[in-house]
């Protein structure tokens, strides 16, 4: 606990910016996808990411690049194609930089 206080004091003392995004468990879920020991099924990952998203929304904070795209990937894995498409569209809206890749993914989904 003392360590945490010290760490916080150091952060405050160094004049750092706040994080741009509300990260939730995004990168932990990514890791869980690949980790043999901590594998988490898509349904559970979706549940946790959607819960993080609600928290971010309630605090009026943006979720990071890739967040909705990854959700779309998880929805696709469990056969929820509509929600998958919707998630890719949301990623595109939030981050126009992703347009080309999201369109690529969407066209592949809708032409198979």
């Amino acid at each position: 606990m003392i360590l945490l206080v010290l760490a916080t004091a150091m952060v405050a003392g160094c004049e750092r910016k706040h994080l741009l995004y509300e990260w939730g468990s995004y990168e932990d879920q990514v890791y869980a996808t690949y980790s043999d020991t901590g594998k988490v099924p898509p349904e559970q990952q979706i549940e946790e990411l959607e819960r993080d998203y609600q928290v971010a929304r309630s605090e009026n904070r943006p979720v990071p690049p890739g967040y909705h795209a990854y959700l779309g990937y998880l929805y696709y894995q469990i056969g929820k194609v509509d929600q998958s498409l919707q998630s890719f569209e949301t990623e595109k809206q939030l981050f126009p930089e992703s347009k080309k890749y999201m369109d690529f993914l969407i066209s592949r989904m809708t032409h198979t």
Partner: protein, 220 residues
Amino acid sequence: MLTAYCRTCLLALVLALGGCAASSSNIDYTAFRESKPRSILVLPPLNNTPDVRATYSFLSTVTQPLAEDGYYVFPVVLVDQTFKENGLINAGEIHEVSLAKLREIFGADATLYITVTQYGPAYMLLNSQIRVSANAKLMDNRTGQLLWSGAATASDSEGGNNSGGGLMGALVYALVKQVASSVGDQGHTVAHVTSQRLLQVRPNGLLYGPLSPFYEKTEP
């Protein structure tokens, strides 16, 4: 939940350490400033270590520092999956794909090539430590120019009795140990620190990207 909380503390601490460190910049940023990349495609890292977990462990630590720098970061799992669906299974094959092709498929401005050079136990004379080291280079997808390159390392024994890293080192040590015990893959916890050191904006590091409020305002 505890894990997530500790992770946040750890990252905050790393950011603090990075923010305090001061050294002069001696990298030529001319090409970087001219290129003005908005989006970065991170390829699955090459693994030059004996631990097969290194590639994906490290890959799942890179989005946060790059996005917080102010770049759009392509969703790493989907990118990896796209390569796999096209028959490119390992990082070595993926690193061979031409920049033009990457730009065509992903629409990315720049590509980040990472190599993990150490992941896991490094046996010292008196004790062992968990160490993760990596290097990276950022390439412009249009011109093929090198925009930036760098390297970083971290270990769970920083500030331990033998290395005498002082208070800051000791803090890193305590927090890393705490997180490591709850995750199971100690290398992954250290990888977070290495990744932050490698990719956050710092002297000789990456520049702020267009999605950051500090873009083109703060010199590294």
